[in-house]
């Protein structure tokens, strides 16, 4: 009982912000969806070409997985923003609200389009004939007869769209838009099932409430029941008002935006940065769970101000380098490249590496006599390897395969939590791992060495946007983090969040780390 209460308290603390954004995002998307689909549906009643095109387009949108649709809008808007900046001298935020809004608005179109067209076509021909016969013009037939009679079907479409949008809005977290999805993504990463459940239940409750209110408004309109209409309007107004209100309270002088990628270490470091900045008197905003390329682009375009990346990631992904000249050289060249081409300031390393590595269950590695990647080369054809969603398409993997001549019997992909379990249970023999992951200790896995240095170093580095790089107070608040976190510390910190029992929140672990850093300096 107290366990649940303890896990729920932090969830409830974030509810006003998450729910607020979720409501604002979904309702806005729904309104845009209606505002666009409705006129198109009306116009397409007279043009079968337009109808085919519109319905086809909306159907194709529907077949794109919603997560992909959301993710695609980020680069699209970024490019668009670059164009407007070049042409008119101003750009717009390609992260967060806009891509989420655009994707969700598109997503809401199909049911509204389809039901509006079907609804109007299903109106009794006798009623239409009577309408024309008594002298209504085309607009009057539509407004006074067809739309009111089609209303139940049209509203059913809007209700479907509302449910889709509210559900899908949970997926806007990875493009940087806070939503109830923050619970789900953070919960999945840290194996906090209370969070995952809480996010799902909250989104479902919101969807159900909005659905009931629309239904109430529909009945109210059909039965000419003023109390019902007022009740529905008041309900919607209260939900929107109550959601927007806490958000307005938050908007102040430009806050420092802290980005995190979607794994537990990033949540801990994000919370740690946030704690230090707040202690120094800064307003902060978090953009949690961002995709790996999204977060880098967002820093260079100034949409976020600070986050922790890893030298090897920038080296391979953003600089496109395939050579591995050694740890110091990678850091120096990366810092210079960041400053010169992106205006990003690399403040320094945190003191640990979170490297791409390969791990095996210790007993299995010992039985096979495997200590390094070199040892794997002759065994690989009989072994199964598991990786996260990225590894098999990354240059690091190609470099390792080439350097050691690896060719595994089976390659399988897992969500990070399940990846470690797959190694422990023996479903796969080798897994891709991250060297700072607490689960390497927890599950007693053996990290294989990389004697040919095929993998670049992955020092955790603190990156600062151009806008904030000259803020002395900000830099002073963050500098104590440099060199302050050793690998063992980070592994233990990660484990505190990951483990199944006596689980801590990233914020709590960040507080522990911070108090140690503060203590050491005094």
């Amino acid at each position: 009982m107290s366990d649940w209460a303890g896990a729920l308290a932090p969830a409830l603390a974030d509810l006003p912000e998450y729910l607020g954004w979720h409501v604002v995002l979904s309702i806005t998307a729904l309104f845009i969806g209606i505002a666009v689909s409705f006129p198109v549906a009306i116009a397409s009643l007279r043009s079968s070409l337009l109808r085919g095109t519109a319905l086809g387009f909306a159907s194709v949108i529907q077949t794109i997985p919603s997560l992909a649709l959301l993710a695609l809008f980020y680069p699209l808007l970024l490019a668009l923003s670059g164009l407007t900046r070049a042409a008119f001298g101003f750009g717009f935020g390609a992260l967060g609200f806009l891509p989420a809004l655009a994707a969700l608005s598109l997503y809401s179109m199909l049911p509204i389009l389809r039901n509006t067209i079907a609804g109007i076509e299903s109106v009794d021909p006798a009623a239409k004939r009577a309408a024309v016969g008594i002298g209504m013009n085309r607009g009057q037939v539509l407004r006074l007869v067809e739309l009111p009679l089609a209303a139940p079907i049209i509203i059913a479409g809007i209700r479907t769209a509302a449910a889709w949008v509210i559900g899908t809005a949970t997926l806007s977290t990875p493009v940087g838009q806070t939503s109830l999805g923050n619970y789900i993504f953070a919960g999945l990463q840290t194996e906090n099932w209370v969070f995952v459940l809480f996010g799902c239940v909250a989104a479902a409750a919101l969807a159900l409430t909005i659905d009931r209110l629309i239904a109430l408004a529909e009945i109210g309109a059909a039965k000419r029941s003023r109390p019902r209409l007022i009740g529905a309007a008041a309900g919607l107004a209260i939900i929107v008002g109550a959601s927007v209100f806490p958000l307005f309270g938050k908007v102040s002088a430009r806050p420092i935006v802290i980005g995190t990628k979607s794994f537990e270490e990033q949540y801990i470091l994000g919370a740690l940065i946030e704690r230090r900045l707040r202690d120094a008197g800064f307003e902060t905003v978090r953009r949690d769970g961002l995709g790996s390329t999204v977060i880098f682009d967002a820093l260079s375009s100034g949409e976020i101000d600070v986050y922790v990346d890893y030298s090897g990631t920038v080296w391979a992904d953003d600089m496109g380098r395939r050579d591995v000249p050694g740890r110091r050289a990678v850091l120096d060249q990366m810092a210079r490249w960041l400053r010169q081409t992106k205006g990003i300031d690399c403040l320094g390393t945190l003191g640990f590496e979170n490297a791409y590595a390969f791990a095996m269950r210790r007993d299995r590695a010992d039985a096979l006599g495997v200590n390094s990647l070199t040892d794997l080369s002759r065994l690989a054809p009989q072994l199964k390897i598991g990786g996260d969603y990225e590894i098999f398409s990354r240059p690091e993997w190609r470099a390792v395969k080439r350097a050691y001549g690896l060719s595994f019997a089976v390659e399988r992909q897992f969500q990070a939590n399940f990846l470690y379990r797959a190694a422990v249970s023996g479903d796969v023999d080798v897994i891709s791992a991250f060297s700072s992951d607490g689960r390497i200790r927890q599950y007693n896995l053996k990290l294989l060495s990389d004697p040919k240095a095929a993998l670049p170093p992955y020092d955790a580095v603190l990156l600062i946007s151009k806008a904030e790089a000259s803020d002395a107070a900000l830099l002073a608040a963050l500098r104590p983090l440099l060199g302050a976190i050793e690998l063992g510390t980070m592994q233990r910190a990660n484990l505190m969040v990951d483990r199944a029992t006596d689980k801590r929140s990233p914020e709590a672990v960040a507080q522990i780390l911070n108090s140690r850093i503060v203590a050491r300096r005094h």
């Binding site: 006798a126 004939r129 009577a130 309408a131 024309v132 008594i134 002298g135 009057q140 009679l149």
Partner: protein
């Protein structure tokens, strides 16, 4: 006055539904267009207010060709009572009765008082019926609302397409005779389409009998009785009497129990 001159309607690839029809309906006249199903009588009626456009020929109203005016404006000047009643199910009785005034852009208060007059005219006490929906009243009452709706904008001409067909017999006879009184008192010109010769004989000043898209004969009921132009008209005019005779004979016979 309504003049139909060489009025023709053809649909793609079929023989003419209405073929070179000539007919004049005088102001203040009550004319019944009678004929079997598919004879073209409803099509002829629909061409008068251009609910359907003629394929050939002309319709003159008070000497003016209807092609010269906007069809929407034309329809607003002519009352129309529909076969399947055609009330709008989402509108109340009062809204249905006043809808023509609404589309003409009249003020709500004046529509309100006019609707009360109209409902009283068709014997529906306004205070009882104004707020009801079509689904909540009987078929006869619904068509009374249909008549009120047609009369709302004080048209000189009323077109009726089998208006009493869907109503139970008692309500039907009462509404028919009520309508004839309204026709007289408002000095309307009425064209009534029906397949029921009894109804035509009881209501109409003149009867136009149609067959296969053409006019078989036009005249007062007495003229058609006494001098039918052909066997078809004779048979048509004879139907009420034959039915009455058959009825009397049946009633006179003892029925097997």
């Amino acid at each position: 006055m309504i003049e139909l001159r060489n009025l023709t309607k053809t649909y793609d690839g079929r023989s003419a539904a209405v073929d070179q029809l000539n007919l004049t309906i005088g102001t203040g006249e009550f004319l019944a267009l009678v004929g079997p199903s598919g004879c073209g009588k409803s099509t002829t009626l629909s061409m008068i207010n251009r609910l359907e456009n003629p394929s050939g020929g002309t319709v003159l109203i008070d000497g003016r060709d209807t092609r010269g005016s906007d069809p929407v404006a034309l329809r607003r000047r002519i009352g129309f009572v529909f076969q399947d009643i055609g009330l709008f199910p989402h509108m109340t009785v009062a809204e249905n009765a006043g809808v023509v005034l609404r589309i003409l852009g009249e003020k709500a208060e004046s529509i309100d008082s006019r609707v009360n007059e109209l409902l009283a005219l068709v014997h529906l006490p306004p205070e009882m019926y104004r707020g009801r929906f079509p689904a909540d009243i009987s078929g006869g009452q619904r068509q009374r609302v249909g008549v009120a709706r047609a009369l709302a904008a004080r048209p000189a001409i009323v077109l009726m397409d089998e208006p009493f067909g869907a109503i139970d017999p008692l309500a039907r006879d009462k509404l028919a005779s009520d309508y004839r009184q309204i026709h007289n008192s408002l000095k309307l010109t009425t064209v009534l389409v029906t397949h029921d010769m009894t109804e035509a004989i009881l209501l109409a000043d003149r009867i136009a009998v149609m067959q296969n898209g053409t006019l078989a004969q036009v005249g007062s009921p007495q003229e058609l009785f006494s001098a039918p132009a052909d066997d078809f008209v004779r048979a048509m005019m004879d139907t009420p009497r034959r039915r009455a005779a058959a009825l009397a004979a049946t009633m006179a016979q003892p029925r097997p129990q």
